[in-house]
């Protein structure tokens, strides 16, 4: 599998482009993080890759085949998408929600194999206890993991994550980043992820693409992209890096009596 993106442009109107000519590629065994301030075009890029949005111009190809020529079902078997966490109106049991991920393979009847795949994925994620719970009654972290499970049962080559950890506590953040890392290292899949947490991006990515106003500011290895100069340029924030972690000025003071 190789995803190649060439001079991708997108605008809601013709005049104002949100994404201004982005090129990159993704191979199996790579975790690529898209980083940048709010409104820099990260989510838009992910949605273009997935044909949720139609690019204004440019080319996206999967193994040399233009995605425009692929059917929706074909796309869904190769690319899975985990949307930005929202408390979406999804009813039904966890099984029902995860089973949706088998839609690209199911014609009408759910086969034994489909049920087994769903249960195996839930077990891998140690979520099998939740199989018959109602999705709406789960915690935020659990919901996010169930949506990842739904992507996993699609058995795709490429995963797209849109801010998978933004609303989660530290434990769930690490769980999900480890999960993504596992998909890359053990299953040799590709992951493209929109992240806000620079430290998480630094620790878990193979490649980082730093965006500013819809254009690439810097791209490459995390340590070469994520430095004080780039962060200052893109975010306008002063940082220090201590042992590979970004530190911003602190204000916490002891309160004196």
């Amino acid at each position: 599998m190789e995803l190649s993106v060439n001079d991708l442009k997108f605008g809601y109107t013709k005049k104002t482009l949100v994404v201004k000519g982005i090129s990159f590629s993704a191979q199996p065994g790579q975790l690529i993080s898209l980083i940048g301030p709010n409104g820099s075009g990260k989510t838009t890029i992910v949605k273009c890759l997935n044909k949720i949005l139609t690019p204004t111009s440019g080319n996206i190809a999967l193994d040399g085949k233009d995605v425009k020529k692929m059917t929706a079902r074909e796309m869904a078997r190769r690319i899975a998408y985990v949307p930005q966490f929202t408390n979406s109106y999804l009813s039904g049991s966890v099984m029902d929600v995860v089973m949706m991920g088998r839609r690209p393979y199911i014609k009408w009847r759910v086969s034994d194999a489909d049920v087994e795949i769903v249960l195996a994925v839930l077990k891998d994620l140690e979520l099998e206890e939740l199989a018959h719970e109602q999705f709406q009654e789960l915690s935020g972290g659990q919901k996010q993991k169930i949506l990842i499970a739904r992507a996993l049962v699609q058995k795709p080559d490429l995963y797209l994550f849109d801010e998978p950890i933004s609303f989660l506590d530290i434990k769930n953040q690490i769980d999900i980043m480890e999960l993504a890392r596992n998909m890359v290292d053990k299953e040799n899949k590709a992951v493209i992820m929109v992240v806000h947490d620079l430290n998480m991006a630094m620790r878990y990515s193979d490649q980082v693409i730093l965006l500013k106003s819809g254009a690439v500011e810097a791209a490459g290895l995390p340590k070469s992209v994520l430095n004080q100069k780039h962060i200052k340029e893109v975010y306008g924030v002063d940082t220090r890096i201590i042992e590979g972690q970004f530190i911003t000025p602190t204000y916490g003071r002891e309160v004196s009596a």
Binding site: E74, Y81, R103, W108, K123
Partner: protein, 353 residues
Amino acid sequence: MEQNIDQAKLNYMNKRSRKILFVLFLSIALVMTAVISITMGASSVDLQTVLQVIGDVFARNDAITDIQRDIVFKIRLPRIITAILVGMALSNAGLLMQGIFQNPLVSPYTLGVSNGAAFGASLAIIFGASFSFLNFGQFLIPVFAFGFAVLTMLMVYGVAKAASDSSSTLILAGVAIGYLFSALVSLVKYLSDVKDLPELVFWMMGSLSGVPMAGIIIMLVAITVTMILMMWFAWDLNIMSAGEETAISLGVDYKKIKMMSFGISTLLTAVAVAFTGVIGFIGLVAPHVTKMLIGNDFRYAVPGSALVGALLLLTADTIGRNIIAPTQLPVGIVTSMIGVPFFLYLIVRKRGK
């Protein structure tokens, strides 16, 4: 560990069988309710007589009078069939709308369709003579009601689309446009001749009696075709409820399914309203009862909600026909009596979450 998976799989399969059993159970319940309903009414035609009348079709039975024959075949049976069909149509329309718009409060009634149809009907009733050149005869009212029901849906969907499709806009648009049409109905009433008013008032309370044979056939065809479509696209519809982005990423042709759902829900609502007038809340209550009983999976919910809708409306109408017999309560009043408390309960529950 393997055992765990087997156990979970078994659970899943059991749930599936339970859903199928529920659908069968609902079918039996519907047949039984229909049998009970046909024996109940202002004139005493009991089960034995009904069976004799039906037997009379095959082998002539001289004990049967023409009046008994008419009560069964011309009054009760068509009315029961109408109740079943209209219940199915309104319920499935509601099920589809709630799924597509991801909003449990959406239904044919809450989107103002009934008011639009009522305006169409009022034009036909009050100014019928002016439209005689159309030569619609007894179909003048249904055609007008149907036309305005469709127009209302298009207006509501149009406004919601202009406001970027959010489902709360849809309800607000429905309420606003519903008010517009209800004001127009008042205007027509104000301008009309007193002698025409009873027919309009009666129409607006909803009635399952006197639907012509052609009307029953039209409803039957509409329900059959739309049910086949809804079953065929059941998986796509299941996934639509997860929202546009997820649906697309799972390989669903979102625009196509959405357009189809608009079409189906409009058609079902419009045919039901055209022949029977304003019957509120079935399209809201029945899908919810179905989901509580057999869940959201359209593969089971489509037949399930059709049956629940039929069962509820038939029961409501049987109650309406008999509770203060020989006077008959319009079925729209009965369904609203049951529906309004349920609607309020849904709002409270939704806010509570």
